[in-house]
Structures are given as C-alpha cells and as structure tokens.
C-alpha cells in the first residue's frame, strides 16, 4: 500500500542523528553502506567502471562538503552525509503507482519492494533529498533501508545491530535509535543540541535529524597569528631543517 500508515503514533520511529559538528567528511559511512548493502536487502548494487575514469553506481549515502560562514561560527567546513531521512510525510511513497514503495507502520522505515517496482522513477522525482537511486541493471529503484538486515538481525551480536554507517563512523557522528522513546540517545541528543528539519518548508517531516555545527570550544587564532606563533615556537632544529630543505 502506498497510502501512509494510519497509525498516527507508530510503536517506534527509528532513524539517525547525524552530528554536523563532529563529522569529519571521511566518507567511511558511505563506503561501509555500499559494502554492506552490496550484499544486503537490495543486493546487488550496480558498480560500473569502479576503477576507471567514469565510475557510476548506486549509493545510498553520499557525503558532501560545504563551507559555512556565519556570525556565530566564523568560517568553517561542514561535512554533510546525505541519505534517506525516512520522512513522516514521504511523498515518495504516496506517488508510487504499484505499492512498491511503503512506509512501515511498526517502525516508520521507508522501504521499496523491488519485486513489484516497475521502475517508473516517479518516487525519485518526489524525494526532495535525492535519496533514491535507480538501479539501471535491475530496472528498479533502490534506497537506504536503515539497514533493516542489520538492526533486526539476530545472527549478529547485539552491539552490531546498528546500521553499517553508524557502526563504522570513526568520529561517532552518527547515532541510531528510536525517536519515540524520549530517553533514547537520539532523542536526548536532539533535545540537548536542537536541530532543524532539512527543507522544512516542503513539509516532508524528515525523521533523521542533523545536529548543527557548534562554536569551537578552543580559541582559534586567525591565520596570520597562527603562522607567526608557529614560526616563533619552532625549535632551532626545525628552523635549521626548514632552511636546509628550502634551499
């Protein structure tokens, strides 16, 4: 059914919290997502010309980097991993003519049944976040599954029952949990740090939340002073080396 579940309060509302303050933009989550999902629920994922000049394939998670300049934060780099937000009001689901796209009533995960998808691509047009990618090989649409094949996988040790991207993040910028539970880590993080919906004006009510970059807690000097202090603080040995090497 592509009509949305009527249960206004689903038992669980599973999703991710991504901390834009601590994400270092290493792409580990994207790589591990691809790695896991190439053998997971939506396997296989196309991977054309992977080592050539024009690699092309389906990824459920892509990491952008931006430069943010604001009064509070000064100028800084913000890395932004983009994947399906498992929206509460997902037009990607309601536009689907076949019932292949659906939102689960139990935990709010938005999924595609690739056995009945006709590959009309309409859902990818309806998603404002560019989260759905078409599998040209199989002729069907694919997307982030919130790693349903990990989070409910009883063959895995309990601590590994989290999405692949969360498990791999070296800076712990990604968190997984139930937003319906006010005590859960994700709920606590969101209430402590605050967050804004992406493209709030479109009204898709994304479940995944992004924590905003914070003001640096250590004093950062401007470039000039950092350079001069670095110069001044250099040991004589390093200065000598520098002179020798710059010849």
């Amino acid at each position: 059914m592509t009509s949305l579940p009527h249960t206004r309060t689903p038992k669980k509302k599973l999703g991710l919290v991504i901390d834009l303050d601590t994400c270092v933009g290493c792409h580990a989550c994207a790589v591990n997502c691809k790695e896991w999902n190439a053998g997971g629920f939506h396997a296989p994922l196309p991977d054309h010309d992977p080592y050539g000049g024009t690699p092309d394939g389906v990824w459920f998670n892509r990491v952008h980097s931006y430069e943010l300049e604001s009064k509070d934060l000064g100028c800084r780099t913000v890395n932004f991993p983009r994947s399906c937000l498992h929206c509460d009001n997902p037009a990607c689901v309601t536009v689907c003519p076949t019932g292949a796209s659906y939102k689960r009533a139990d935990d709010g995960i938005v999924l595609i049944n690739t056995d009945i998808c006709i590959g009309c691509k309409l859902c990818s047009w309806a998603c404002p976040y560019g989260a759905r990618e078409f599998d040209e090989d199989a002729g069907v649409m694919k997307k982030c599954t919130l790693c349903i094949d990990r989070i409910y996988n009883e063959a895995l040790p309990e601590e590994d029952r989290v999405p692949a991207c969360v498990a791999t993040c070296p800076s712990h910028a990604r968190h997984f949990g139930d937003f319906n539970d006010p005590e859960s880590q994700v709920s606590v993080l969101v209430s402590e740090r605050g967050s804004m919906d992406l493209m709030e004006e479109l009204g898709y009510r994304p479940v995944n939340k992004y924590l905003p970059p914070q003001r640096a807690r250590i004093e950062i000097n401007s470039f000039e002073t950092t350079e001069s202090t670095a110069e001044g603080a250099c040991s004589p040995l390093l200065k000598l080396l520098d002179r020798l090497l710059s010849r």
Partner: protein
Amino acid sequence: MRPASSVLLLTTLTGFGYGLLAWMGVFDMLGWLPDTRSFGPVVILTALGFASAGLVASTMHLGRPERAWRAFSQWRSSWLAREGLAAAATNLPALGFAISWWISGPDIPLTVALGLCTGVMALLTIGCTAMIYASLKPIRQWHNAHTLPGYLIYGAFSGILLLTLILGFSHGAVRLAAGIGTVLGIIGLIAKRAYWSYIDSQTPMVTLASALGFSSGLVRPLDLPHFTENFILREMGFRIARRHQRKLRRLVILVAFAIPIACASLAALGVMPEILSAFAAMSAGMGLFIERWLFFAEATHVAAVYYGRAA
C-alpha cells in the same frame, strides 16, 4: 529535469488522442459531425490509437515494462495509478460510442450520451497526467496552478486540430472546427506565455542553507561526494543553456501556436481548409513536442541544490 523522449511522446500523443475524443463527444452532441456510418467508429479508433501509442511509448520509460499492469493498484494515493485507470476506463465508453454509432447512428440519445461520457473520461485522463507533475512539490516549475489548465488547454487544442484535419478529408464542418482551433490556439499561446513569465519570476523554494537545515549563514559547496555524474545529477540536475532556452521558447511560439493559429484561421475563412488544417495539425504536433521537452528541461529539482546547482 531530464526530458525522456518516451514521456514526451506519451503526453503529446495522449493529448492528441484524448483531445480528439473529447471533441468528438461535443461535436456529436451538437450534431456537427458527418452522419456516415463509418465516420464515428473510424475517428474514435484513430483517437484511441493515438492514446494507446502514447501509453505504449511511456512503458518504454519503465525499468520493468513487463510489470506495468501493477501500476493500476494504488489509485487511492497515486496520480500515476489514477492516470492508468482513467486511460483504461476511457476505452469502455469510447468503444460503446463507436459501436452505438455503427449500429444506430450518431443522433440517438445513447450514442450522444456515450460520446459525452467518453469526452469527460478523456479530459479526466489528461487531468490525471497533469496532476502527476503538478503534485510534485520538489519541482517548482510543475507544482503550480499553471500545470493542470495548461495540459487541458493543449490537449483540447491538439484534439480540435486533429478533428479539423479529419473533417477536412470527410467534408464535415471543417471551418467551424478550424475556428475553434484558432481560438484555442490563442488561449494556448496566452497560457504558455503566462506560464513562462510565472516561472521566470518564481523565487527558488529552498536555499542551500535551508537544504542543510541552517537558519542563517552563507553556505558554499566545497567538495562533491563524487566527481562523475550519478543518477541524481543525470535525472534531476539537467540544465538547459539560457540561449537554447530562449531559442526554443521562440520556436514553441512559432511552431506550436503561431503557424497553427494562422493556418486554422485561414481555414476557418474557407481558404484551402483541407491543406491548411493538415499543416496546422502537423505543426502543432511538432511544436507541442518541443513544448513538452522544454517543460522538462526548464524544470529544476530541489535535490540539485546539494550539488550547488540552482533549483
């Protein structure tokens, strides 16, 4: 948005087909059609042929055409499913219209009623097609009040030109039809220009900052996630060069509207109606195909802002 030729063919051909069906219903009610036995059935089947050709073309766009039948199921929420159902359902009154005409002639109440029913279903189908586009919030050039009337007007316009052409060959009320074609062409031209000035003056719905959830600050793209094109950029990041856009808009005005209007108005005055109405229909066909191409090419998708492209 990337203009996929199968989708362009779909909407242009179904516009002609369903537009023709709608006018057949109206003209039959008014008694403006030749009452030969074969006229009705032949024209109705021609119209259904146009519509089916469009629908078949659209299945080429699918990744899994063999599963197309599944697209009927979600009519409660999906305009694409509704379009499919409306298109299939139109066949019933249309075939009834043709059969009733063949057996008892165009003037009996049953034929007239079936004709009107066919017309209403045909317009509903065009309306569903329009709503597929109009309901997509991430695309501001589609999600607005111009899309639905636009599709209906261009459908009616192409339908009446096709009917004029047919009436020209069958010694029917060709001048009357050409007159209606002229008026609809002028309405279509006004609607198209209004649409263009509307989308040119629109402000983008989202900014890069709101796409990232920032309420303030200046954001610039620094590094892309990938340096080659992907599905999102190919499908949603399609951009048309401004100078091409200007040229194509002028071409649409000329080929889709100005030439057909000129030909149809001359035909309405009785100047070589057979030849000129054929010109009008062919020119409109090509012009409306370009119009559909532009409808896609000019449309931008908000997901492209993540890649630093305007939406």
